[in-house]
C-alpha cells in the first residue's frame, strides 16, 4: 500500500504521553516506517478505555493496570503489552507542614498529611493518577475527607497549579511535574518508591468485537513500540534534561536500567 494515502490509525492515549511530547518525538518514525497516519486522541485514561470499548479507536496507550486487566478480561481488547513506566511523586510546599521528610514509609507519609490536616489536592477523576492516589490512602488506612482534602476534578496540570496556589500537597506523575516545576513553589517530598511506579501498556481493540477496526495497524504499532530501537528511543527521551520513561520491553541491558536523577530522595 505504498502508493495509497496512508491508512489512519486511531490512538487513544492519556494526556501525559501527549503533553510530555513523547508522542511527537516517537510517532514520525513509525509513520515513516509503516505508512500509517496516526491520529492521536489524548484524553483521560477513563475516557480512553471508554473509546476502546466503543470501538471508536484502534489502539490504546494507557496507564491503569487494574482497569486495563478488566478491559481485556471483558473482551474489549487484546494483546495488552507492557511498554514502559514512569513514576509518581508526591510534591508539597517546601515548608513541609506535614513533615513528609520524616516519614518512615509511604503509608506513614499519607497518614501524616491527613493527621496534620494539611491541604491535599486530589485529581478526583477516574485517571490513573487518581486510582493510584486512592490505593495509597487505602494503604495508609485513611479515608480522606474534610476541608483539607480538595477534590479538584481536573487534569494533572491544573491540579498542580491549584496545589501551588493553595500551598497544598498532591500526587503527580513525574512528567507533568517536570513541566510545571519551574513555575511552582512546591518541591518533591517523596519519590522513587516502587509503590509509585506507573506502568504504561498498549492494548489493541479487539477485532472480534469490531470487524473494521484497524487491528493490523494496531498490531504494527504495538510491535513497533517494543522494538529495541523504539525502546532505546523511549529511554533516550528527555524532558527538561531529565529522562522520563523507562522502557519495560527491552531485554538487553544496553538501555539505562533505572532512572538516574540528580534529585535525591528527601
Amino acid at each position: 500500500a505504498a502508493n495509497n494515502p496512508a491508512t489512519i490509525l486511531r490512538l487513544a492515549t492519556t494526556t501525559s504521553t501527549e503533553n510530555s511530547g513523547l508522542l511527537d518525538y516517537l510517532l514520525p518514525d513509525f509513520e515513516k516506517q509503516n505508512d500509517y497516519k496516526v491520529h492521536v486522541i489524548a484524553v483521560g485514561t477513563g475516557k480512553a478505555l471508554r473509546m476502546g470499548k466503543d470501538g471508536d479507536v484502534d489502539v490504546l496507550l494507557v496507564h491503569a493496570p487494574k482497569a486495563e486487566a478488566e478491559f481485556v478480561a471483558a473482551g474489549y481488547g487484546t494483546d495488552r503489552t507492557a511498554i514502559m513506566h514512569n513514576d509518581f511523586v508526591i510534591v508539597g510546599p517546601s515548608a513541609d507542614p506535614a513533615g513528609l521528610s520524616k516519614a518512615s514509609s509511604l503509608a506513614d507519609a499519607m497518614q501524616r498529611i491527613s493527621k496534620t490536616q494539611s491541604r491535599f489536592v486530589s485529581r478526583g477523576d477516574n485517571s490513573g493518577t487518581y486510582k493510584k492516589e486512592s490505593s495509597l490512602w487505602k494503604l495508609a488506612n485513611v479515608k480522606p475527607q474534610g476541608k483539607w482534602y480538595i477534590e479538584a476534578g481536573q487534569g494533572m496540570g491544573k491540579v498542580l497549579l491549584m496545589a501551588s496556589e493553595l500551598d497544598a500537597y498532591t500526587l503527580t506523575d513525574r512528567g507533568t511535574w517536570l513541566a510545571y516545576r519551574d513555575k511552582s513553589p512546591l518541591k518533591i517530598l517523596w519519590q522513587h518508591d516502587p509503590l509509585l511506579f506507573n506502568p504504561y501498556s498498549a492494548i489493541a481493540v479487539n477485532p472480534e468485537r469490531y470487524k473494521d477496526t484497524n487491528y493490523k495497524g494496531a498490531m504494527a504499532f504495538i510491535h513497533w513500540l517494543v522494538l529495541p530501537s523504539t525502546q532505546h528511543k523511549i529511554a533516550a527521551f528527555r524532558l527538561y534534561q531529565q529522562p522520563l520513561f523507562i522502557p519495560d520491553a527491552v531485554q538487553d541491558n544496553s538501555a539505562p536500567a533505572s532512572v538516574v536523577t540528580s534529585e535525591k530522595h528527601s
Binding site: K47, R50, N126, G153, Q154, M162
Partner: protein
C-alpha cells in the same frame, strides 16, 4: 454504564435524576448561585451600556460596538486564563486570594455575559423608534424614567439578551474550571461536573447532568417568557 448504547445511557441518566443525591444538589446550587450573582451584577450596567451606544453620539462609538460584538467570541477559557493570571498569587490581584473561590467564578462569568448583553441590548434599543424617547421626554419623564420606558418598549429583545447572557454562563466550563477549580461542594458546578464525568468516560452521568441543566434552564426561560409577552409581530 454497563454498555454504550444510547438508550441505556439515557435510562441511566433518568435513574440518576430521579434518585438524586446531595452531591447533585450541591452542584446544581453552585451553578445557579454563581450564574445568578453574575447576572445580577452585570445585567443593569450592560443594558445601560447598550442604551448609551444606541442613543449617544461620541467618537469611537462604532468601534466600541464592534468590540462588544467581538468579545462574544472570546473563548471562556481565555477569559478564565486572563483572570487566572490576574488573580494568581503572583498576579497583580494576588493579594485578594480569590482564586478557586466562587467569587472568582462570578468575576469570570460577569466578564463572559457582559459583552453579549451589551451587544444584544444595543441591537434591541437600536430597533426602537426615536420618537419613543422624544415622546417620553415630552410627556415629562426624567432621564431615568424615559430610560425605563424605552427598556419597557424593548423588553422583548432585552429579555432575549438576558437569556443569551445567562445561557452563555450557566453552560460555560472554561472559566469556571480555571477560576473555581472544580472543587466538590464549593466550586463544582454543572458544566465542570459534566466535564469531569466525561473525562472519566461516564458519559451517562454527563448526559444526566446536561438534562438537569436544560430542564432547569427551561423552567427559568419559561418564567422569563411569561413576562416577555407574545413574541409575535404586531
Amino acid at each position: 454504564m454497563t454498555d454504550s448504547s444510547l438508550l441505556s445511557s439515557l435510562l441511566d441518566a433518568l435513574q440518576l435524576l430521579l434518585l438524586g443525591d446531595g452531591k447533585l444538589w450541591s452542584i446544581i446550587l453552585v451553578s445557579f448561585k454563581v450564574s445568578s450573582l453574575a447576572m445580577l451584577v452585570a445585567a443593569l450596567p450592560a443594558v445601560i451600556c447598550g442604551f448609551l451606544l444606541a442613543y449617544m453620539r461620541f467618537p469611537g462609538r462604532r468601534l466600541l460596538i464592534s468590540l462588544f460584538n467581538t468579545l462574544l467570541a472570546v473563548p471562556a477559557v481565555v477569559v478564565g486564563l486572563t483572570f487566572y493570571i490576574l488573580l494568581s498569587r503572583h498576579g497583580p490581584l494576588g493579594d485578594w486570594k480569590l482564586l478557586f473561590t466562587q467569587t472568582a467564578m462570578v468575576l469570570g462569568q460577569i466578564a463572559l455575559c457582559f459583552p453579549i448583553m451589551v451587544a444584544m441590548s444595543h441591537a434591541a434599543f437600536q430597533a426602537i423608534d426615536l420618537r419613543a424617547w422624544e415622546t417620553a421626554r415630552t410627556i415629562g419623564a426624567g432621564t431615568v424614567q424615559a430610560f425605563m420606558m424605552i427598556v419597557s418598549e424593548a423588553r422583548y429583545a432585552i429579555l432575549g439578551a438576558f437569556v443569551a447572557g445567562f445561557g452563555r454562563i450557566i453552560a460555560e466550563v472554561g472559566a469556571s474550571m480555571m477560576l473555581g477549580g472544580n472543587i466538590l461542594h464549593y466550586t463544582r458546578n454543572i458544566p465542570t461536573a459534566i466535564a469531569l464525568e466525561t473525562s472519566k468516560g461516564e458519559l451517562s452521568q454527563g448526559i444526566a447532568l446536561g438534562i438537569v441543566l436544560v430542564t432547569l434552564s427551561f423552567l427559568l426561560v419559561s418564567v422569563l417568557h411569561y413576562f416577555q409577552g407574545r413574541g409575535q409581530i404586531q
